[in-house]
């Protein structure tokens, strides 16, 4: 569906996006993840034909962005960051204007606007100026704008920024719903959002792709170091170390917290092992009081931190 090769964008001498490659297939929901200033917005702007790449090729279906950007714009619906719209226009007027520009036939014009208003929850604000809307409603108008022509590809730049938790969940539901049939690309720096909505994650850091794959693949490929947290009462750290380090699969013990009668430790587990049963038996043999005992797998957050930490 979308094929990107060697894509580079320079601002003056600084490379905002540097030689990136990726392919996006029909029906995927792709999350573009990265710290602020990583090049997410620049990448999306080049995909939509708003910015011209310094070098590299972008192909959407069979169209290239240099020669057929008009054709590409017809099949892409785009919501720019923070949904910049005309503050003086009424929501209804704006949507009708977009419908006209998107060449929606006049007889389906109204029914399409009504459908979008229902889908994005805009019925109550249709006759208010966009400038008077709250951020959440404005974002929804932007979403309706992007979805107007029922485009094959939907590109959303930080669709949930500045929304309250309820609105975030609503927008995510809309995105998931659209993503059943359409290709959706969204950028964000909220990790839970990617986990909640995306099939696939592309992590961008300093203009380069740091990781690309579905969430499970990413979690497996990044070392797969599992960690067990253990908190007990009535035991000095030294004794825990002595007892637990003999368990097979435990490669390291680190003290997290120690108060007068309570110790928290972090056990590093070599990959492929699950020594939880053995550890529990060991604890049972002693007179320690077990307060906490849980296994923690790699979260997207730790992967993200690992890949994008400034050195």
């Amino acid at each position: 569906m979308i094929h990107v090769e060697n894509l580079t964008k320079h601002y003056d001498q600084v490379a905002a996006v540097d030689q990136i490659h990726f392919d996006i297939h029909k029906g995927e929901i792709v999350g573009l993840l990265g710290p602020n200033g990583a090049g997410k917005t620049t990448t999306l702007r080049m995909l939509t034909g708003f910015l011209r790449p310094t070098s590299g090729t972008i192909r959407v279906k069979d169209f290239t962005v240099e020669n057929q950007s008009l054709e590409i714009k017809k099949i892409i619906g785009y919501l720019p960051e923070s949904a910049p719209l005309y503050p003086d226009m009424l929501v209804f007027d704006y949507l009708r204007y977009v419908a006209n520009i998107r060449a929606i036939p006049a007889d389906r014009n109204l029914s399409r606007i009504r459908e979008l208003a229902r889908q994005c929850g805009l019925q109550e604000v249709m006759h208010k100026p966009i400038g008077e809307l709250s951020k959440g409603y404005k974002q929804r108008v932007g979403l309706a704008h992007a979805m107007m022509s029922d485009p094959e590809i939907l590109i959303l730049d930080e669709p949930t920024s500045g929304l309250d938790p309820n609105q975030i969940i609503e927008i995510r539901d809309i995105i998931k719903h659209i993503g059943k049939e359409k290709t959706v690309i969204l950028s964000t720096h909220i990790l839970s959002e990617v986990e909640a909505t995306c099939d696939r994650v592309v992590i961008i850091h300093q203009g380069k792709i740091a990781a690309d794959g579905n969430l499970r693949e990413l979690k497996e490929s990044s070392g797969n170091t599992n960690v067990i947290h253990l908190t007990v009462r009535n035991a000095p750290f030294e004794e825990i170390e002595k007892q637990i380090s003999s368990v097979e699969g435990v490669t390291g013990i680190a003290r997290l917290e120690e108060s007068s009668d309570q110790v928290s430790v972090k056990l590093t587990i070599s990959s492929g092992q699950d020594p939880r049963e053995e550890i529990f038996r060991k604890v049972k043999q002693t007179d320690w009081v077990l307060l906490e005992f849980y296994q923690q797998t790699q979260t997207l957050e730790t992967i993200f931190r690992g890949l994008t930490k400034e050195n």
Binding site: F50, P80, A103
Partner: protein, 234 residues
């Protein structure tokens, strides 16, 4: 092409949403009305020569004020990005906005039809120069609107856009009066570049293709420059 029509409709409509439009129209009518009628009875002639002769100078102020927001506001708000990622050609965007500005100035000129009507009641008015004058006014407005649109595409600050547009329009208007200070070798070209003599011919009722070509060329250059500026922002 029909995209340009939708952009025109939207821009023309949004002129009348904001109070700026009504302020500009009021000021324009006040200034022209006052200047025209304050000397009209002293001159005691049933013509509108006085009204049309001050139009170029007034337009040099008013037209850039009308066009200043067309691109600057979009650049400032960011709606420029939503606009250009819709399936529209740059040329259509420029043309739509240009037509809206010219139509707005046309709407601004409609109330001034009260002047020739009043004058025709008071004496024998020759309608030829009046019709010529209005055609000239629209051509002049088109040329200045194209320049103002170009100025607006340069910056996100409306005031800066206004000042740049006004400076260019004013220079073109007063070129005729400044010829005295300029080197002789350039006189031929520069006297052609000024808007005043071209407008004066038309407002006398002489519709000469050379003058029409002049106004169309200025409009075209302004619009083309604006289009180049937008494309360069990519």
């Amino acid at each position: 092409m029909h995209q340009a029509v939708y952009i025109f409709r939207k821009e023309f409509g949004s002129y009348f949403i904001s109070p700026v439009a009504y302020i500009v129209i009021s000021i324009f009518l006040l200034v022209t009305g006052w200047f025209f009628f304050s000397t009209f009875f002293l001159l005691d002639q049933a013509n509108l020569r006085n009204f049309f002769s001050m139009l170029p100078v007034i337009f040099a102020f008013v037209v850039p004020a009308v066009t200043m927001r067309l691109f600057s506001e979009e650049l400032n708000v960011g709606s420029y990005e939503t606009l250009l990622t819709l399936p529209v050609r740059y040329g259509e965007v420029v043309l739509g906005k240009f037509m809206a500005a010219v139509a707005f100035i046309g709407a601004m000129l409609v109330p001034t039809l009260a002047y020739p009507l009043t004058v025709s009641l008071l004496g024998q008015l020759d309608w030829g120069p009046v019709v010529g004058g209005y055609i000239g006014a629209i051509l002049l407005a088109a040329a200045y609107a194209a320049i103002g649109l170009f100025a607006s595409s340069l910056t996100r600050n409306q005031i800066v856009a206004f000042i740049i547009g006004m400076a260019i329009c004013f220079t073109l208007t007063l070129m005729e009066r400044m010829l005295f200070f300029l080197p002789e070798s350039l006189l031929g070209i520069l006297s052609y570049v000024g808007t005043f003599p071209h407008f004066q011919n038309i407002s006398k009722g002489i519709i000469d293709t050379r003058d029409i070509v002049y106004f169309i060329s200025v409009s075209f250059i302004g619009l083309y420059a604006a289009r180049l500026v937008i494309e360069e922002k990519k």
